[in-house]
Symmetry: C2
Amino acid sequence: MYKRKIIPNLNCGLDLIGEVLYGKWKIRLIWFINEGYKRPSELQRKIPDASRRVLNIQLKELEEHELVTKKIYPVVPPKVEYSLTGFGKTLIPVIAALGQWSDEHEDRLRDVILRQVMSSDLDDTLIS
Amino acid sequence: MYKRKIIPNLNCGLDLIGEVLYGKWKIRLIWFINEGYKRPSELQRKIPDASRRVLNIQLKELEEHELVTKKIYPVVPPKVEYSLTGFGKTLIPVIAALGQWSDEHEDRLRDVILRQVMSSDLDDTLIS
DNA sequence: GCAATAGGGGATAAATTTATCCCTATCTGA
DNA sequence: TCAGATAGGGATAAATTTATCCCCTATTGC
């Protein structure tokens, strides 16, 4: 695994939450686990844009941060289930607030994001 | 500026919010602007760990995403003020929820984060 | 003339995060 | 016997994000 070279600042609350939630797929992982998609393969199907590898890595970090637990069943083929810890569950309302905000503003968000992506394409065209 | 090579997915709400809030300092910028720290130099003082450069870049992105507006006063030395747009203000309750959660769990968060950082240091020691 | 102030930005390096590719293991069913 | 399902991880490449360094503008005050 990657070993940090720079020690993170943990001054304020926002630094702390960043440490545990900052990862492209983490919020979604927590959300889907809460919805009952507990097995790695299920989570992968729910998040097809992420590679298996990254999901494993991010799940492991969530586990280290005590937001989820991993239960390995000694069967073949292997079966693994993730669940939210009590601590992890306290995040659900927060993530729900994020989700609700983005749902409410979905159209506008899509609009401003695409505008920005395209304007950088345009820059590109002007240069070449 | 950096030109994306991979077009982002904008399938669900969480993709969208990621596009506008995913940036190390963005949430804090929005928060502090809302608290009344509007000038770039003030924001820098509030966020001393970020370089001036990155703050400029992230502020520009927030502006492109219509979460903040920038007002340039034609005076010397220059004076600039950022404000939240109406759209940006709708994010305040969401950010407040994030902040409240991390404040409530501050000790535990610090604990699990440090534990994780140290365990990777330990790995390092064992190897060498 | 020179420093200080306030705000910006290009170029490049470093850090970090994601993606890709490939390999392991075991049983089930065709 | 071979593919498929299920879970995992090492090595490495690519993408992306942050950090550093240095330079520019114009005016005020000494």
